[in-house]
């Protein structure tokens, strides 16, 4: 690893001003569980690291019916996984967290860091986009809310400006008669996803007419992708087996995976189709419960 200047500011404004002073030479470090790997490989060589973990009030999980769920960016994976509030209200998120790397990594890695890393194979982004999450970005003299769907711009790239820090993740309350599902295809449960599919659906009536659905795919393009064609095909219709088959085929065509060390393009498309079927069926079963 190349050496760097290391700063540990105690205030968010100090962190933003350091980031704006050092510009593209600087990187934010929270848990560092993704960043340090890139720095060891010399893929990323920042000459300045701004450690934000001493900044107070960025580590919390809060919920109210009106505002929904708010998670501070420095909340660790392990804290989310073990939170009784999340288990009770957003169990799907708790389950996904359990299959991210290992306990040692989850003890240190943060939700904010995971999202800002922008790995297209990350498990959290597709699920959180499915849940219509927004992220609060705090800059030196600015603050904005961005739908997570618009946050990623390319492989490992986001809309974050040089002086901005992702401060909070906001997730609206779940709709009644809704179901959520995420499944991934990976060699072992805790390995990174080859592809992953999140499905968040809600029904109009118990007879299976779908009011709203989001299908989000990770690992099948430079950023997590929503299959809007499949979503449109489903909404307003009865979700029976035939429609699920048809939607999964649409998703398979709509994604844009590339062949790489993890799998061929064909394999990834097949898996996306399979996981989409599993995801819609799984989400529907959760609605019925």
């Amino acid at each position: 690893m190349r050496n760097f200047d290391y700063f540990k500011p105690g205030k968010i404004t100090d962190a933003c001003s350091l980031l704006s002073k050092y510009g593209e030479k600087a990187k934010i470090i929270a848990g560092g569980q993704s960043l340090l790997i890139l720095m060891k490989e010399k893929i990323v060589c920042p000459s300045c690291l701004v450690d934000i973990t001493e900044i107070p009030n960025l580590d919390y999980i809060q919920y109210d019916n009106k505002g929904g769920l708010r998670i501070g960016a420095l909340t660790t994976h392990r804290e989310i996984e073990s939170s009784s509030l999340i288990k009770e209200r957003f169990n799907v998120l708790s389950e996904v967290e359990k299959a991210i790397a290992s306990i040692q990594i989850r003890n240190v890695g943060t939700i904010g860091g995971n999202l800002c890393h922008g790995d297209p194979c990350g498990d959290l982004a597709p699920l959180l986009i499915g849940l219509e999450a927004q992220v609060k970005l705090t800059g030196f003299e600015s603050e904005r809310l961005v739908p997570l769907e618009d946050f990623f711009t390319d492989y490992y790239e986001t809309v974050l400006k040089e002086d901005e820090i992702l401060a909070e993740i906001q997730i609206p309350s779940l709709l009644l008669s809704g179901g959520q599902w995420y499944s991934k295809c990976s060699p072992r449960e805790t390995d990174p996803a080859i592809v992953g599919v999140a499905v968040v659906a809600s029904l109009e009536s118990p007879d299976g007419i779908c009011r709203k659905i989001r299908i989000v795919i990770g690992g099948a393009g430079p950023v997590p992708l929503r299959s809007k064609k499949a979503e449109k095909r489903i909404e307003g219709n009865r979700l029976d087996e035939k429609l699920i088959e048809e939607a999964a085929k649409i998703v398979k065509e709509e994604v844009a995976p590339v062949s790489d060390i993890r799998g061929t393009e064909e394999y990834k498309r097949e898996m996306v189709e399979l996981l989409t079927k599993e995801g819609i069926t799984g989400a529907l079963e959760k609605v019925k419960k």
């Binding site: 690893m1 200047d5 290391y6 700063f7 569980q33 790997i37 040692q104 990594i105 240190v108």
Partner: protein
Amino acid sequence: MKKKNIKLNVNGAFYEMEIESRITLAEFLREKLFLTGTKIGCESGVCGACTVILDGKAVKSCLILAVKADGKEVLTIEGLGLEADNLHPIQESFIKNGAIQCGFCTPGMILSAKALLDESPEPNEEDIKAALAGNLCRCTGYVKTIKAVLDVT
């Protein structure tokens, strides 16, 4: 700023040292404090051989900058038990159950087990598997390791 002064507690002893920002906690423990019980394997957060306990939580010390341990408490395998007549019950159980072959993964395994047992003193097999999922053993399997952790009480 490329060098930082850090103060930390390792296995109950207090240390203060000026270090380069870039060194990891694993490198610090091995090369500055000569605590070579902490092993460096993959250096990318996968194998778990470098597992130590930082402020009560199991972490992979190859993915923690030493400067981040400033003001914190570290427990390494040397802090558990060094002498044959002074071993920790987890170490005793690993020996009794033959849960060791080459021994390279053992310090990490034992510290992951320690963190688990501190949190839930009576884990079931699933809890143990989850706790040890980040510690790889390339000699043998995990059957004896799991049994060793189940046996600690």
